[in-house]
Amino acid sequence: MSILDYFSAILLAGGVFFSFTGAIGLFRFPDFFTRVHAASVTDTIGVILIIAGLLLQTSFDLNIIKLLLILAILLLTSPTASHALAKSARHGGLLTLAESNRSNDR
């Protein structure tokens, strides 16, 4: 194993870790907005790390460009999607946990 492979492995492991935490968060967090937050971790840092790890695995050819493009597109769309989700939820009248607690207290 070359040094690149070690780096790659670390990056991939990091990506897997963040994806995994994102998934756990999706299940464990208490309300919609925090869950979206957890999910977007998977979409952003998890994906970045995994693609970076993969970049180190490929030889220098067309695949690198493809991977970079994928990364670019994902970085563009995933946050947008999270944003749209959250905003729609808000638009639809969904309250955060804190807000709903407050309204319950009142």
């Binding site: 597109i73 563009l76 769309t77 947008t80 944003h83 749209a84 905003k87 729609s88 638009h91």
Partner: protein
Amino acid sequence: MTEVLIDLVLLGMLAMTALRVIFLKDLFAVVMLFSIFSFVSALIFINLDAVDVAFTEAAVGAGISTVLMLGTIALTGRTEKKNSHSSILHLVVVCVTGAALIYGTMDMPPFGNADNPIHQHVAPRYIEDSPKEVGLPNIVTSVLASYRGFDTLGETVVVFAAMIGVLSLLGTARPTNKRATPESGLAKHRVLHVVAKIIIPFIILFALYVQFHGDYGPGGGFQAGVIAAAALILYALVFGASFAHRIVSPRQLEVFAPLGVLLYASVGLVGMIKGANFLDYNVLASTAAAGQHYGIIIIELGVGLTVFAAMLGLFYAFSNQVERSNVQ
């Protein structure tokens, strides 16, 4: 061994998803689970070397089908009601069918074995001779477009037939009333607007890439058509259907879809006029290889056109229904 492991994990996920679908009453969740099911099966397809299939499954199963299903539950309500009648009979039917299939697996050729009959008969010729006979590196495209081109014509017609069915049922999208253009739910999303404007050209570019690169890598007219349609669907979702109608109107789609079929068929007819059998591309140009190449490009275009028009048409029809119900 890794392949097997991945395969097992994915299949396990599928099994869980499927079981969940049976018991869930929330249709929105059911549809999302189906979408997941589709995605995971696309992954399995990749793992099983079926890249073209995976591509299509992701675009169609996870993409178009899900959109259509979501549109439907938006109209029909998102919970399934309690079902009182017993389903023992159904369970028995399913168990018997499943038992028959398991019985059938007992004599199946082992999974993945290169000596299986299907790898020994018919297929070797595709793998060995198609680069010479058809001249494309992507064997799937060669078989799809040339050896079994008639199937693909049928497939195109199926898409066309589906469009006919949906349009006749839901009505063609009526010309949008300018004044009463309903605000898309997403109209106020500045971020979405910006990102969509950035990304849509790339999607269309990608569609064209898939269309013309299908000979060399995974892809082809069908996937390209779906992706191109997806670009416009995104546009319609973000900016509202009336704007999308201005780019490609429903009436135009009603012409594009049949035109694609006709384009495909006419390639075959030209072959017939030149004295060969229907869909024989060899005679289209001076050499067989060039003929095959032209033929495949044109028919892929036909497929792409029809699929694009049909998929977009389906979306228009569904969204039209949703809008109508919103207005009411």
